[in-house]
Amino acid sequence: MTDISTGTAQDWNAPEVRSNLRRRHRGERWLRGIGLAAILTAFAVLVILLGSLTASGYKAFSQTFITLDVPVSADRVKPDRIAAANWRGVMQDAVAAMFPDATDAERKVLAAIPSSVAQFAVRDRVLADPALIGQTVTVSVPVSDPFDQLHKGLIDRATPEENRRLKDAEIAAFDRLVEAGKVALRPNWALVTSADSRFPELAGLRGALIGSFYALLTCFVISFPIGIGAAIYLEEFAPKNRLSDLIEININNLAAVPSVVFGLLGLAVFLGWFGLPRSAPFVGGLVLALMTLPTIIIATRAALKAVPPSIREAALGIGASRQQVVFQHVLPLAMPGILTGTIIGLAQALGETAPLLLIGMNAFITAAPATPFDAATALPTQIFIWADSPERGFVSRTSAAILVLLGFLILMNGLAIFLRNRFERRW
């Protein structure tokens, strides 16, 4: 066939050929070793992070409850003025009834063990059913935070009394309740069903979860269509010239702008000029949309670029309009990539804290927002608030809240991977 002469044939057993081969194999082993080490390091860091969070956070997933039999005496509670009755006195009666031999001082200590909501729990029961006056109401309420800590073993009884959060008398009183079988550890559903509170034993993430949901919803509703629209225009219709290059550079820059800057922008524009309400998840969502927009545009453009040009040619070649090409052929093929990018963008937005702090989503709000325009916190800002709170009970709650946030992030990223694998097309 060919008359090209390569001189002598290659001697595959020559020492220099073999050593060359050995060197190449060694290089490959090195590369694999380094890659493996990198993965293991990353994995170890992740395990440490999750491990420490779980170690400090798992205690917040349970809560110490106390069961109280509360006699609602007709002396203290008048049927026509139920709400204004001396409920604190009612609670003290209950403690006194439980331990008839206790001294006044002991009773005071004992009455401080149930969380301050206990009296309201009883009051609400009686308000709902005034027939209970004169009878005994049994309620199960959280104990206040220091006793919760004690019961979970977070307060060391061996510490000298003056350095301890609870005095000997308080511990003794609590132990009497434990002996009486009135105390139990139960799953802490309040962590997700209650809003924030000054009292750790009552504080929950409901407000933050709903706030984050509204903020992400707003963010999605705004950034998804605008992002896809912008990407389609830039990728499929815009002429390639200096102007489109400039726009592209700016979008990429926008993606790299620190989030706190978007927060300042939101503060100045949405709150300052447009006069939108402070601390509202809707405004948070607007700010997050500004941040997510470049991510979605970039992901969408990459997904559109990955659709082979031959598909566009095929459709154009049988007389499809540009719009039909995009919406009937290119976009469906790019959708998995677009959705993946969007979900990752939203996951980023979910964890974003700084811009939300700037628009006031770190306010102390004890009611879950009913609409996106009510003041609320979000998951990351709630974590920020709790991490800043002095009460011991917030330490484990902070970790627990972080675990909840991470759980949502893992869920979202898992969804992204699922969508990618499920709808990935080959051509």
């Binding site: 040619e313 070649g317 007389g319 080959r426």
Partner: protein, 265 residues
């Protein structure tokens, strides 16, 4: 080649369908097509031959304005379809491409079902009023593209799951489904076996009854078998254009002669 058969063949050709005058194509600074003057006749198969990279595909794509989609591509000169300048502002490229169909060099079925691939064109151009009409179009196009027997039991499977040759026949079926007046085929048989090639050639011959067909091919035998007129391109120039019999038996230009006898290419 059977010269005697070529020379004897009766050539029945129609009116001028597409005409190009001083057509130039530039890719940025590259001058890919120079001064091409050609009249493509109706009810005729015209073959474009020439060495690789000489601009056959480029010129073919000018005829249905597919070059519009290449950002740095510029077309000059005058190209008319039925006497109307196709690069005129009043001409809608979308409608033009329905009238001038195309089969690409590389098979490019949509990643949709076989049925959808063929039905897409008639559907967007509103050619079928009922589902039955559409079924009818799909079946006849697949039959004419010699794919019906292989595809009839798997119409709902993706077109991309077919073999390379089957994909190309699917693309042919898709292109003829819009009943174009002119069909441009860029090496439609390069991925086909001899049997499928023969079927496609039969189809081309059949299409000639109503349409004008332009086919790019690297096979001299194929050009001789299916075409009535042949254009030889070389380095962006149209070197020679005439009746196929004359080009293959009695070329006027020495370059044409060297190419068809296998000395350049």
């Amino acid at each position: 080649m059977d010269d005697a058969r070529l020379a004897e063949r009766a050539v029945t050709t129609g009116e001028v369908k597409i005409s190009a005058r001083k057509a130039q194509v530039y890719y940025g600074e590259t001058h890919a097509i120079r001064d091409v003057d050609v009249d493509i006749l109706d009810k005729t198969v015209t073959a474009f031959i020439g060495p690789s990279g000489c601009g056959k595909s480029t010129f073919l794509r000018c005829l249905n304005r597919m070059n519009d989609t290449i950002p740095n591509c510029r077309v000059e000169g005058r190209i008319t379809l039925d006497g109307e300048d196709i690069y005129d502002r009043s001409v809608d490229p979308v409608q033009l491409r329905a009238r001038v169909g195309m089969v690409f060099q590389k098979p490019n079925p949509f990643p949709k079902s076989i049925y959808e691939n063929v039905a897409y064109g008639p559907r967007i151009h509103g050619m079928a009023r009922t589902k039955a009409d559409l079924d009818q179009i799909v079946e006849s196009c697949l039959r004419r593209a010699a794919l019906w027997n292989e595809a009839k039991d798997r119409l709902d499977e993706p077109g991309t799951g077919l073999s390379g040759g089957q994909q190309q026949r699917l693309c042919i079926a898709r292109a003829i489904a819009t009943s174009p007046e002119v069909l441009l085929m860029d090496e439609p048989c390069s991925a086909l076996d001899p049997i499928a090639t023969a079927q496609v050639e039969e189809l081309i011959d059949e299409l000639r009854a109503n349409f004008s067909v332009v086919i790019v091919t690297h096979s001299m035998q194929q050009a001789a078998r299916v075409s009535q007129r042949t254009a030889f391109f070389h380095l962006g120039n149209l070197v020679e254009y005439g009746e196929t019999g004359q080009i293959f038996t009695n070329p006027r230009d020495p370059r044409t002669e060297s190419y068809i006898t296998g000395r350049i290419g």
